[in-house]
């Protein structure tokens, strides 16, 4: 999984000759996803939600609510924004995505499978003994850049990828999806300060602002508002969007960086459990093991919700 920077992409390439290096190593990265239509995105997101629901009916259940709240963000990223190619997952010119809220693993697996990084059929092995699809993503899974799951790691990792690209003179970006509850971890803000200080404008964070954490509302447990103002105070460029509006997400994510020299953060307003009325907006959707009956009901609800 490690893309090796050879001597030819070392220091000599940073500044003056960087553009040439980027052209050599980066321009080949597939951008097929950017062609996807609005209908295509909607259908893809629905399939991803269906996979999520299916995995939650597996032997161990899964992180249902937060995966559903992230589903549209992941769909737009992988099918409309990221320069990435499942056939060349280590291409140094790729955009890097990190699921800092690693408990949303089933949403990532579903997205990677739909995008062609792993067989869709493998999703049925989620949480089954001997498999590689664990409750939190590991690098053995194609397309997973870094193991995540311990909250508060993604932003620093993303900054590392962003600084790497900058040092090599490449134009690729690092996208980091954070949970809102995750922002109670101090390391997030430590890394936010460092990213702004480094002027890492090729780093883009997305906050899945569903307002709920494991046992209840973030604002009742350890408040995070004013969210946008906090990021602005940390010298980030901030946009607030509807995290289930594909076009709004695409416009914001694809156009980053919005301010030269500043990292960008999309505060995506989402609903935990989005797409499943029976759990939407409820904290107990955080983790679910769906019985056969509940699974069938969820599948019907997804279809109904899509109409």
């Amino acid at each position: 999984m490690t893309a090796v920077v050879g001597a030819d992409t070392g220091p000599e390439t940073s500044a003056e000759t960087g553009a040439e290096t980027g052209a050599e190593t980066g321009a080949v990265v597939g951008t097929a996803g950017t062609e996807m239509t609005a209908d295509g995105l909607r259908e893809t997101a629905l399939r991803i939600r269906r996979h999520i629901v299916d995995m939650c009916a597996g032997p161990e259940g899964g992180h249902l609510g937060g995966s559903l709240s992230s589903a549209d963000i992941l769909t737009v990223l992988y099918f409309s924004v990221l320069r990435c190619d499942p056939a060349a997952p280590d291409d140094p010119g790729r955009d890097v995505f990190l699921l800092s809220k690693g408990h949303g693993a089933i949403g990532l697996y579903a997205t990677l499978a739909e995008r062609g990084y792993l067989p869709v059929a493998e999703l049925a092995t989620y949480a089954r003994p001997g498999g590689r699809l664990m409750g939190h993503p590991v690098r053995a899974v194609p397309g997973v850049e870094m193991p995540t799951g311990s909250l508060g790691h993604g932003l620093a990792l993303g900054l590392g990828f962003a600084l790497s690209a900058r040092l090599a003179g490449r134009a690729n970006r690092a996208f980091v999806l954070l949970g809102d509850g995750e922002l109670q971890e101090g390391s997030c803000w430590e890394s936010a300060i460092a990213a702004a200080a480094q002027g890492a404008d090729n780093l883009v964070a997305i906050v899945d602002r569903n307002g709920l954490q494991l046992t209840g509302a973030t604002e009742q447990i350890s408040p995070l508002e004013p969210m946008a103002a906090r990021w602005r105070a940390f010298n980030w460029a901030v946009r607030e969007v509807d995290g289930h509006d594909h076009e709004a997400l695409r416009e914001a994510l694809a156009s980053a960086p919005w301010e030269p020299g500043r990292p960008s953060v999309v505060v995506a307003s989402t609903v935990k459990g989005q797409g499943l009325a029976m759990v939407a907006g409820k904290a107990h959707s955080h983790y679910a093991t769906l019985s056969e009956r509940m699974h069938a009901r969820a599948v019907r609800a997804l279809r109904a919700g899509d109409r």
């Binding site: 920077v5 990792l157 590392g160 790497s164 040092l167 690092a174 430590e190 890394s191």
Partner: protein
């Protein structure tokens, strides 16, 4: 006998390395170690991330995964405790080539106190899969080991001191990473040591015990705690009446534990572990003073060895006695 701080030797070696290796990057947490340093053409590869040790480790992992070779800089107290989870998950788990350059190790921060002492770092680093753990003993061994660590495919923890410590004898050959270095031949009592002052204390104690007690004393320099050179240890201690470890670390998890584990499993010998006591050191003093207060001197080591040998002799002379109190 000259004296240098291993962190200073490292700093100068890194400036050279940055020039020679276009993938080397220096990530700093405002340690001050690089104030006024001219990295020349490599200046863009020096980044001061501010006082942010978790971020330091995460950024290093991201950069190493992108093909760079980061040297990360902080104090041992923060590398091994504060940032440990990032070291574990982001660096060690991914087996990424990050060099964790930890200054102010042991009690080398002296009067700065327990917040700045690191007497647990070897224990926590040694337990991590994929990690190489190195403890240079002086300027020359720092230079030699850094050169060998530079091209390792995985992560490494390098334990450095704050203030100048005396050099090993001039005729000491350069250490080889992963191999215990025999500094003095002798098999009756074998002193296994790591770190500047413990190695010097062991060498001097060995001379004293040979001259005054007629003992055949060997000294092994175990500069690489992981991977540990079990073969040399067991070969050099076969038939020893007593194996002694000397280190600047708490008694659990460091060199003494490594030796105890290997001997217990492969070639049990009577063992005496000399380390800093199992308590926080909150008395003002420099590194040498704080270690002397706790018996890590040539005289202290010699005295502990004599007492233990006497105890072992008593045990041998009194059949049925299985254990003796620690002298």
């Amino acid at each position: 006998m000259s004296a240098v701080a291993t962190r200073t030797v490292y700093r100068d070696a890194l400036v050279e390395r940055m020039g020679a290796d276009p993938t080397a990057v220096c990530l700093d947490t405002d340690t001050g170690l690089f104030s006024g340093v001219d990295f020349g053409d490599a200046a863009a590869r020096y980044l001061n991330l501010g006082i942010a040790e978790h971020t330091l480790m995460g950024v290093a992992a991201g950069m190493a995964a992108s093909g760079w070779r980061p040297y990360v800089n902080t104090m041992a107290a923060f590398a091994g405790a504060r940032a440990l989870e990032a070291v574990k998950i982001d660096i060690a788990y991914n087996a990424l080539p990050v060099r964790i350059m930890a200054t102010h190790s042991g009690v080398s921060a002296g009067h700065l106190g327990p917040t700045h002492h690191a007497l647990e770092d070897l224990a926590v680093m040694r337990v991590l899969p994929n990690m190489t753990v190195v403890v240079p003993a002086d300027g020359a061994s720092t230079t030699a080991l850094l050169g060998q660590v530079a091209d390792l495919p995985g992560p490494a923890y390098v334990r450095l001191g704050r203030k100048p410590t005396p050099s090993l004898p001039e005729d000491t050959p350069p250490p080889v990473l992963g191999r215990i270095q025999r500094l003095r031949d002798g098999g009756e009592v074998v002193l296994v040591c790591a770190g500047p002052l413990p190695v010097l204390a062991a060498l001097e104690a060995a001379g004293t015990l040979a001259a005054e007690d007629g003992l055949d004393v060997g000294v092994l320099h175990a500069h690489t705690l992981k991977p540990f050179d079990t073969g040399t240890l067991t070969a050099a201690t076969a038939g020893a009446r007593l194996v002694v470890t000397v280190e600047e670390h708490w008694p659990s998890g460091g060199l003494g534990s490594a030796v105890a584990e290997e001997l217990a499993e492969h070639a049990p010998r009577p063992l005496l572990r000399i380390a800093m006591p199992d308590r926080f050191v909150d008395t003002v003093g420099g590194q040498e003073r704080l270690m002397a207060d706790n018996g890590i001197t040539a005289e202290g080591v010699a005295a502990r060895v004599r007492a233990r040998l006497a105890g072992l002799a008593d045990t041998a002379a009194a059949p049925g006695t299985q254990t003796r109190p620690i002298p």
